[in-house]
Amino acid sequence: MSYPADLKYTKDHEWIRIAGDVAEIGITDFAQQQLGDVVYVELPDVGRQLTAGDSFGSIESVKAVSELFAPMGGQVVEVNPSLKDHPEAVNSRPYESWMVKIHLSDPRATTSLLDSAGYERLVTT
């Protein structure tokens, strides 16, 4: 399992790719493997305001469902349109399968996030 070094991670097994004041959010390789075959990703409407910790959607496999939580606050500016028809991409390419893009209210509020090594420790211990 891989945890790219250029991403930040959460204890809820999400990854965050921050570029300027916009962040892409997805779920980790570990998370997709735990869930099994993903069949559906429920995503919010564009424009929705999120505070860190808000549930903004859910991800379903055949026999499990897991909520998605906003790792940082901001406004949803885009949702990944291809996941509607190809939810399986979350399994095959977890780090390309971003779910939402958030315009961050505070791009520097990353103190609660983990780096790659920290996340790997979390899932291997």
């Binding site: 069949v39 559906y40 026999k63």
Partner: protein, 962 residues
């Protein structure tokens, strides 16, 4: 026992192991006697000290003879009451081949889809039939009854609309919805703080806080009206519309889907399902594709199997309570699969032309009757109708009532001056003549001699059109799929039903060892009377003097269930275990409210609880607080104390399953109940595991205040392939006043909650089954059944624990009536619980419960009905599978290309010209000698579950697709 005493006693027919087998099994279990085993299994502190006080057992024939006499205390009137229940002809081929056929009534909910393709196909027919007739995009495979379907429609509309606009909390309900529907809507709206405005549909105002409207079509008095104006107003205001519809009417009337409805629901009863004094019947529920993830209950979908062939399965399970728990769309679990299958077969048999002919005939009879009554000078108030007339008698209805009763006719007496007459497919011109005669005599007119002739003339002279306006006349086609246009001869339908049946595994094939489901014998003697006319052909709202037989049976059954639970009162209204949970929680809620403790809304639920528990708690407006499990699987007492203390001012109750979902009689159960009581809470016992208690301990003995009983588990109602079920609740004295009432019957407590079901005694006709079960077993037989259920589980443990670790047990190693095998150790070799479940199919067995209550495990419940030979076959199969796993673990077998991963093996795969596996065809299909005699060929290979959910398709696939 006297030598001339009856010889056909039921206990030895019901209980599998013979006395000799029992002794052999005890030796293997390592217990000196059955009593000793029970002493080791159930804590002495909760044991009953005296036998149950029940009437002495009856032999099978004694029972049937007495029941025949009781049947004669019911009177079968011609009932034109309507209100969602209509007499119907069940085609005899469907009675014999489906309703009375263990091949259809004994299977379980189709979780093991590979051996459930027959009923899955039929349920897909049901969904297609509903979607076609209602003109909606997607339908589910049945709900409990029309009234609870209305409540589910309300919930769906609220979720969808309030999800976007949380302030919307008001639901408008037409006062022309069925009265029992409005009652159930009230009972479900109140705990969720939804406001219900009941009033005339024409005056509905869609204020900004309205999320939806519920309408009836045709309405409860029979009036059929164009719904488009209301739907347009609702949609313009951002609200949704749900419509209760009559399926038969939709063969003639413009379907609600074409009028813009967002949800269409109703009962499929009149499609050949007997009245049964209230049920069981299947409700239907259809909506738009956009809301498919909000649908409650089971949805059947199309997928493919490992060989790429079309295969059916239950789709979108993540909506359901067993996965989403308190966030589920509904608590519904058991539904009405058997009855949905009967309704679907009725549509398959009659086809679109036949249904239209039936509907047209009923409608014309109504027109003829309306014409004749108008000739008599009586006013008929429905401007447009399908089959139901509303008659005004300014001088009062009493004369009509008296003359109708004399002729064994029931009308609906709406008020002092109004009578409802709902016709149905069993009505003939003779019946119309009788109805006209009743009115003629009641109005003091001279009966005309040539009545019959007049009727025939009327029939001939009425215009050939339906008399319905264009806006209400259906023009679209329905049931165009070949399955509804092929099986119209009895020969063809008989073969179609048999063809489907052969694909499925029921108790008529082999043991179904599903943990927590209690798949015991559904005895033929208990089943037979259900289809007797004097039980099956009675409308639920007839006057009580016509149902003295039912009244006696219901009274005796209630007493027996009180005796068995140790409680003071019982409500037979809930139609499933989950509905019993909701009812029990609402009773607890009413109790707290009555004591001025409205703030008590916290429910403590152990982590290992059935998913229905948290889902029901949410529906009852309660907050779920999870209590941790200790390592040995029992409730973590420290965590319970902590959480009960934290919520002491808000604690409503604890929901606990006993014996636990881990299959263990927890020693601390009394202490658990005392902790909850000490903090002001009540104890709700989930009765799913009651089969380990009956006659030996009881919910009252452990300290519970309420419990539900799954009559379809413990008390032998068949599972029907996913329903019917019954979930009556028992309550202690202090809760009896709050049991649910009903608008059409004297039942429930004096401060009772609103009705929870459409009918006063739920699915009354199948109460005959637990009644038979209890009367034929008697007190000693019931206790013996429990003892043998425990023996059988401990025997399986003794035989298999060397091969598969058993997860939980008492300190002395004894399990209750079920046990959990841990398969997680094999995961590193790539073998999981699903591989074992599917491999069991090759041996002819249905899998145990998979991954509940612990992921990666199998939970086995053998029940008392299986004899030693069947238990041994199952154990032999499990041991052989263990050898096969070992071969993979040790590398002797390939990690992927092995007999487990490719299970189950179809006949076409095993007989194919090419065979690419390293194991033999014989190893695949006949892994043990006993299989040769009993081979079950799965019709499809392993089903691709993700494919089905990613490519959702929920109606009959085009024939070319395969």
């Amino acid at each position: 026992m006297h030598s001339l005493d009856a010889t056909d006693w039921f206990p030895s027919r019901h209980i599998g192991p013979s006395p000799d087998e029992r002794d052999d099994m005890l030796a293997i279990v390592g217990a000196p006697s059955l009593d000793a085993l029970i002493d080791e299994t159930i804590p002495s502190s909760i044991r009953l000290t005296t036998p149950l006080n029940l009437p002495p057992p009856e032999s099978e024939h004694q029972y049937l003879r007495r029941l025949g006499q009781l049947a004669h205390q019911n009177q079968v009137f011609r009932s034109y009451i309507g209100l969602g229940y209509h007499d119907t002809f069940t085609p005899s081929v469907i009675v014999r081949m489906v309703m009375e056929n263990p091949g259809w009534y004994t299977p379980y909910t189709p979780y093991q889809a590979e051996i459930a393709q027959g009923r899955l196909e039929s349920l897909l027919n049901f969904q297609t039939m509903v979607a076609d007739l209602t003109a909606m995009e997607v339908a589910n495979a049945s709900l409990l009854d029309e009234a609870t379907a209305a409540a589910e429609a309300m919930s769906l509309m609220h979720r969808v609309v309030a999800g976007r606009e949380p302030a919307r909390h008001r639901c408008l309900v037409s006062d022309r919805c069925l009265p029992q529907t409005i009652e159930v809507l009230r009972s479900r709206a109140e705990p969720l703080a939804l406001s219900l405005d009941v009033g005339p549909a024409s005056r509905m105002t869609f204020a900004p806080d309205v999320f939806g409207a519920v309408l009836q079509y045709p309405d409860e008095a029979g009036l059929a009206q164009d719904l488009r104006p209301i739907v347009e107003r609702a949609h313009a205001a951002g609200a949704l519309v749900a419509v209760a519809a009559d399926l038969l009417a939709l063969a003639l009337l413009t379907p609600p889907g074409e009028m813009g409805a967002d949800v269409v629901f109703g009962s499929s009863q009149r499609f050949g399902v007997p009245l049964g004094y209230g049920g069981p019947h299947a409700a239907f529920f259809a909506t738009r594709n956009a809301f498919v993830r909000q649908i409650p209950g089971r949805i059947i979908g199309v997928s493919v199997d490992a060989h790429g062939h079309t295969a059916y399965r239950m789709a979108l399970a993540t909506r359901e309570q067993h996965i989403r728990r308190e966030k589920a769309t509904s608590n519904i679990c058991t539904a009405q699969a058997l009855l949905a299958n009967m309704a679907a077969m009725y549509a398959v048999y009659h086809g679109p032309k036949g249904l239209k002919a039936i509907a047209t005939r009923v409608h014309r009879l109504a027109e003829i009757l309306a014409h004749q009554l108008t000739e008599l000078g009586v006013a008929q108030r429905n401007a447009h109708y399908f089959d139901t007339l509303q008659i005004e008698i300014p001088s009062g209805v009493e004369q009509v009532r008296a003359h109708a009763t004399e002729r064994s006719i029931n009308f609906r007496y709406i008020d002092e001056q109004t009578i409802g007459i709902a016709l149905n497919e069993t009505v003939t011109l003779d019946d119309i003549e009788d109805i006209v005669a009743v009115f003629t005599t009641a109005l003091g007119r001279r009966p005309s001699r040539g009545m019959r002739e007049t009727l025939r003339q009327t029939a001939g002279s009425l215009p050939a059109t339906t008399g319905l306006p264009g806006a209400l006349t259906r023009t679209s086609a329905f049931l165009t799929h070949p399955v509804f246009n092929t099986h119209h001869s009895e020969t063809e339908l008989m073969r179609y039903i048999r063809r489907l049946e052969r694909k499925d595994v029921g108790l008529d094939t082999s043991m179904i060892p599903l943990g927590s489901c209690t798949m015991k014998l559904n005895a033929a003697s208990a089943m037979l009377p259900v289809t007797w006319e004097r039980f099956s052909r009675i409308h639920p709202f007839v006057p009580t003097e016509q149902t003295r037989g039912y009244a006696q049976i219901i009274g005796e059954l209630e007493s027996a269930l009180c005796e068995i639970t140790g409680f003071a009162a019982v409500s037979l209204q809930p139609n499933s275990g989950a509905q019993g949970e909701f009812t029990g929680l609402m009773v607890i809620r009413a109790f707290h409210l009555d004591r001025g403790e409205a703030g008590r809304d916290v429910v403590l639920i152990p982590a290992s609880a059935h998913g229905t528990n948290p889902a029901s708690a949410t529906m009852a407006g309660m907050r779920v607080v999870v209590v941790a499990s200790a390592r040995e699987g029992s409730v973590d007492l420290a965590d319970l104390r902590k959480k009960a203390g934290e919520h002491r001012d808000r604690l409503a109750c604890l929901m606990i399953t006993y014996p636990s979902t881990h299959g263990v009689f927890e020693d601390a159960v009394r202490e658990i109940c005392e902790i909850v009581h000490a903090h002001g809470g009540q104890v709700y016992m989930d009765g799913a595991n009651m089969n380990a208690q009956v006659g030996l301990t009881s919910p009252a003995s452990i300290g519970a205040d309420v419990c539900h009983l799954n009559l379809h588990k413990t008390f032998a109602i068949p599972h029907g392939g996913g329903g019917p079920g019954m979930g009556p609740i028992g309550v202690a004295q202090h809760l009896a006043a709050f049991l649910p009432r009903h608008p059409f019957a004297a039942t429930g407590g004096e401060r009772g909650i609103h009705a929870v079901s459409a009918a006063p005694w739920g699915s009354a006709s199948i109460l005959l089954i637990p009644y038979a079960y209890i009367r034929m077993l008697g007190a000693s037989g019931l206790a013996d059944a429990t003892r043998h259920a425990i023996l059988n589980a401990n025997y399986i443990k003794a035989r298999l624990e060397r091969h598969y670790p058993v997860l939980y047990g008492r300190a002395n190693g004894r399990v209750a009536h079920e046990l959990i095998f841990d398969l997680r150790a094999f995961k590193s070799a790539g073998i999981d619980e699903m591989d074992v479940a599917k491999r069991l199919i090759d041996f002819g067995f249905h899998a145990p419960t998979v991954s509940f209550p612990v992921a990666g495990t199998l939970m086995v419940e053998p029940t008392e009905s299986e004899d030693k030979a069947e238990l041994d076959r199952f154990c032999d199969a499990m041991i052989q599978i263990h050898r096969e796993i070992e071969a993979v673990v040790t590398g002797k077998a390939d990690a992927q290309n092995n007999v487990l991963k490719h299970a189950p093996h179809t006949a076409s795969a095993v007989s194919a010209s090419t065979w690419t596996h390293p194991y033999t065809r014989e190893e695949a299909a006949y892994p043990l000698p006993f299989v040769r005699e009993r081979k079950v060929w799965p019709p499809v290979g392993r089903i691709d579950n993700p494919y089905g959910d990613r490519n959702l398709f929920c109606s009959c696939p085009p024939i070319e697709a395969d």
